[in-house]
């Protein structure tokens, strides 16, 4: 890798920095039609009629589509098929789409969309997740029988006994807010009817395979009749799974019906109105501790507002359950988790996936406990944290990999000079207006899908007769650099320069369905498949030339574009070996499949080997709080994460900083606000993501403990970096002000409740 890749190598960087990259909205198609979704003003209503006649007669309109036009299934969902392509029986939240106008231009489609009239019988809306569970509550889905989407639980040890052993019991309530992914590129899709009968889909999505499933079900055609083509995308963060797929399905449906390419490009306000969010949580948390700081018991109740449709609420809340005690060993645990339907905006996958909420709780609880016991937060963490061979709260023994909890904690303490700075914190008292605080938080995180479902991935290496290499893996380029990571892994395994490798434009018709590129699984799963493919290719190449090398095929080494015998005396170039393979009628074409090692889960007890491996992270932040205004200013942040193996160092650092920035927004200003079930923060002026001026200088400490179960050695990074800065900030705010903050976003009392909207700088 060294010399070839230089600093910050990416296969797509040149195109992106010159503006040459073609994202979906940049593609041009002959005879392209444009679509616009139609929403209603209702939050919860029984649909009577969608009157499309006026819109249908408007200038330039090709067709107005409603649920009636869907030839296949109008309902979809990865877990419960309750989501609609178009609302058919009810409107369940203000973002439900009742129709779609297709016209010659986007402006004409938008104009005509306002002419669609929705007749519906308004129903009382249930907007509070606790109320949704009360007997007699209005039901979001009548045929579901209740508003309970799912439950999870952990029953470990005996909590009553655990609390009896405790010298200190603390109990607190926490709340977190609804958060928007705010990918810079809104949802967009183009459906293209091809002459061969295939509907081709170009779009911005993280899960081409679920997109293909939804499109094929919607159209009533086989999977082979839909081809989802990899297209550069402007960010996902977990947010381009369900909604993005339905946007693709609508574009494909219109294209199929009208026989012309159709583009559905979302406006930002549509995107924020309709797309799913990070779940707002309410958590009641009770922790018992012995005088020596040992946590004796945890009892918690986790309530997640899933909004109007199921999406992946059962999976998100499952991770919250598994990680409900943070990275601490607790013998007695009683956890009840509930996912609930309401008429709020749908909640689903977002970077962290149920962990940011729980870490906000747990990492404050341990500090509350520490201060009550008169020990330092760091000491209390060390007393309880997982170590090599520890057993987690779900009964999993951590012995398959290096448990690096202490290593990341030590790294952050040393880098920040934490203990010395902690002593200098203001704790509510300072001479000037500024209060100073430092805080930290840490976590462990199960990697990839775990017991959520089937977890395997394919990669294909196809070496051409001239020795150039085509590579494709079943993971998707979301902007994170997946293609580059796959290329670097292949190059290193094959001992060739990365310039020899061209990552193929991916297609669902080419690479096997390898699932979704979420759960920080891209590098470990895709990289595992690439590594195994490369090893198989090496085996075949070595067999072809071992006669010339006069060694056993298994002994050949691949280095510097050559294949060498063990002593390095004889060599054959990579190109030559490929020539030999073609000459002897062997294709250098291989498929690698990485199957995640076995996991297990007992839903009744909440016990099992939840994930096949884990990662460990710690972050600290320094900040000041203005006594008069309540304004929080971040002064610096440091993170240490065990990434297994850093495949592309600059991109690894980018994941650190991007994750921390997003978490800073989560902590301090991001919130999807609604009034009576209608979102009011509909654009990037009112929904405020961090600007450069909101953020401090950040430092990334990369810890590498290659994982024995990961063929490439790499583990996970995208989400771990996003899940602990909010509690670190909350702890730092406490050390600055002397006051605990139990709700996100943190708004200090001296600050105005509703921060003024950022002025747009034009």
């Amino acid at each position: 890798m060294k010399a070839e890749c230089g600093r910050g190598w990416r296969n797509d960087a040149h195109a992106k920095v010159t503006g040459a990259t073609k994202y979906t909205d940049d593609l041009k198609f002959a005879r392209l039609l444009h679509a616009a979704p139609v929403y209603s003003d209702f939050v919860h209503a029984r649909l009577i009629r969608v009157a499309t006649e006026d819109a249908q007669r408007a200038p330039g309109v090709a067709r107005v589509l409603t649920a009636r036009d869907v030839p296949g299934s109008n309902r979809f969902g990865q877990i419960i098929r309750d989501y609609r392509i178009f609302a058919d029986d009810k409107i369940r939240y203000n973002g439900d789409v009742v129709a779609m106008v297709v016209a010659e231009t986007r402006d004409l489609a938008i104009r005509a969309a306002s002419l669609v009239r929705v007749e519906a019988e308004p129903l009382p809306a249930v907007l509070d997740p606790e109320e949704a569970l009360l007997p007699g509550a209005v039901l979001v889905h009548e045929n579901h029988g209740s508003n309970l989407v799912n439950t999870h639980r952990i029953r470990r040890g005996n909590v009553d006994e655990g609390f009896r052993q405790a010298d200190l019991v603390i109990e607190e309530q926490f709340r977190t807010q609804s958060v928007e992914h705010a990918y810079m590129e809104p949802e967009v899709a183009v459906g293209v009817p091809r002459a061969d009968g295939v509907i081709e889909v170009h779009g911005s999505m993280q899960h081409p395979f679920s997109t293909r499933r939804f499109v094929s079900a919607c159209l009533g055609v086989p999977l082979s009749g839909v081809e989802v083509v990899g297209t550069p995308m402007g960010g996902g963060f977990g947010g381009k799974d369900d909604t993005a797929a339905v946007v693709c399905a609508r574009a494909a449906l219109a294209a199929s019906i009208l026989g012309r390419p159709v583009k559905l490009m979302y406006r930002r306000d549509w995107s924020i109105r309709e797309s799913y969010k990070r779940h707002p949580y309410r958590v009641s948390y009770k922790m018992g501790l012995a005088r020596d700081g040992r946590i004796t018991a945890v009892q918690c109740r986790i309530l997640a507002d899933g909004g109007a449709y199921c999406s992946v609420t059962p999976w998100v809340t499952w991770r919250s359950t598994v990680q409900c005690c943070g990275p601490y060993v607790v013998e007695n645990v009683h956890c009840d988790t509930l996912g609930v339907y309401t008429n709020n905006v749908v909640a689903g996958a977002m970077r962290g996936f149920g962990s940011p909420q729980m870490n906000f709780v747990v990492e404050q609880m341990v500090e509350i406990a520490a201060s009550r016991l008169g020990v330092s937060g760091v000491e209390l963490r060390r007393r309880n944290m997982v170590r090599q061979g520890s057993v987690t709260v779900t009964g999993q023994r951590l012995d398959s990999h290096k448990v690096a909890m202490g290593e990341v904690l030590d790294a952050v303490l040393a880098e920040t000079g934490y203990e010395e700075k902690l002593a200098r914190c203001s704790r509510g008292a300072s001479d000037g207006d500024e209060l100073y605080g430092i805080g930290l938080a840490m976590s462990y995180r199960g990697v990839s899908l775990g017991a959520e479902g089937v977890d395997f991935c394919a990669a294909m290496i196809n070496v051409q007769p001239d020795g150039s290499i085509l590579l494709e893996a079943g993971v998707h380029e979301n902007g994170q650099g997946a293609e580059s990571a796959m290329s670097l892994i292949a190059a290193q395994e094959l001992g060739v320069g990365v310039d020899r490798i061209r990552y193929r434009r991916s297609s669902t018709s080419n690479v096997p369905d390898s699932g979704t590129t979420v759960a920080s699984r891209g590098t470990i799963m895709g990289g595992g498949a690439v590594t195994l493919a490369a090893r198989e290719l090496k085996r075949r190449m070595a067999e072809a030339v071992c006669g010339r090398l006069q060694c056993l095929s298994g002994a050949a080494r691949f280095e510097g574009g050559e294949i060498l015998d063990p002593a390095g005396r004889r060599s054959v170039s990579f190109d030559e070996a490929i020539s030999v393979m073609f000459a002897t009628q062997h294709f250098p074409h291989v498929v690698g499949v990485f199957r995640a090692p076995r996991v297990s889960w007992d839903e009744h007890t909440g016990q099992g080997d939840a994930y096949f491996t884990w990662v460990y992270g710690c972050q600290a932040v320094e900040l000041s709080v203005n006594k008069r205004t309540g304004k929080v200013r971040l002064l610096g942040a440091v993170a240490a994460h065990d990434v297994g193996r850093a495949v592309n160092r600059e991109m690894v650092r980018g994941q650190f900083f991007g994750g921390m920035a997003m978490a800073a927004g989560y902590a301090l200003h991001e919130e999807v606000r609604s009034k009576d079930g209608r979102i009011t923060t509909l654009n990037l002026n009112s929904y405020r993501i961090p600007r450069s001026t909101d953020l401090p200088e950040m430092k990334a400490i990369i810890i590498e403990n290659p994982d024995p179960q990961s063929p490439s050695g790499a583990k996970a990074l995208g989400e771990p970096t996003n899940e602990i800065l909010a509690p670190a900030i909350a702890n730092a705010v406490f050390h600055a002000t002397g006051r605990r903050e139990f709700a996100l976003p943190i708004r200090l009392s001296a600050a105005p409740d509703d921060p003024p909207q950022e002025e747009c700088r034009l």
Partner: protein, 164 residues
């Protein structure tokens, strides 16, 4: 009316002058580096330079830049494809992830460095404060701009934007 885009003079009718500038650039000239992302001038993904000053064009019309010199991201690299030192720094410092904000970010940085070739990191932070990025946390973008600044100083002044 006439405008100059990436060194090329373009004559447009009054009717075209009334059109949205971003649509004109993206659809008529196929200069798709400027992105539609918020439509209200809040995010900066549509930023171009007009007479070396950044302009968020999603709410501008073609006539707003009549008679002026427009530089889009497509005009920054040399005609033979050689990256401008600022672009090279973005690549090498890992300042690019999804890339959707990158064209606007590079252009804002370019305009800033032309004015202030010896900036502090705090000044760089402020200069890009109107351009949103959701992927990078800005850290490596600031690194890249800081590293490229040397090319804007004194004798090492950068090649002027390409004039096709």
């Amino acid at each position: 009316m006439r405008l100059n885009v990436n060194g090329r003079d373009i004559e447009v009718s009054d009717a075209v002058g009334e059109r949205r500038l971003i649509t004109f650039l993206r659809e008529d000239l196929d200069l798709t580096g400027a992105k539609n992302a918020c439509d209200i001038g809040a995010c900066g993904a549509c930023t171009i330079l007009v007479d070396d000053e950044p302009l968020k064009i999603c709410i501008k019309r073609v006539k707003d830049v009549a008679g002026r010199r427009v530089l889009t991201i497509e005009g920054l690299a040399a005609p033979d494809g050689t990256l401008h030192p600022l672009q090279r720094a973005f690549v090498e410092r890992g300042a690019i992830q999804c890339g959707f904000c990158t064209p606007g970010m590079v252009l804002v940085a370019h305009a800033f460095l032309l004015r202030q070739p010896d900036p502090t990191r705090e000044q760089i932070r402020k200069a890009i404060g109107g351009n949103l990025c959701r992927c990078t946390g800005y850290q490596q973008i600031i690194d890249a701009i800081e590293e490229a600044a040397v090319h804007y100083r004194g004798a090492e002044a950068p090649a002027e934007p390409a004039r096709a």
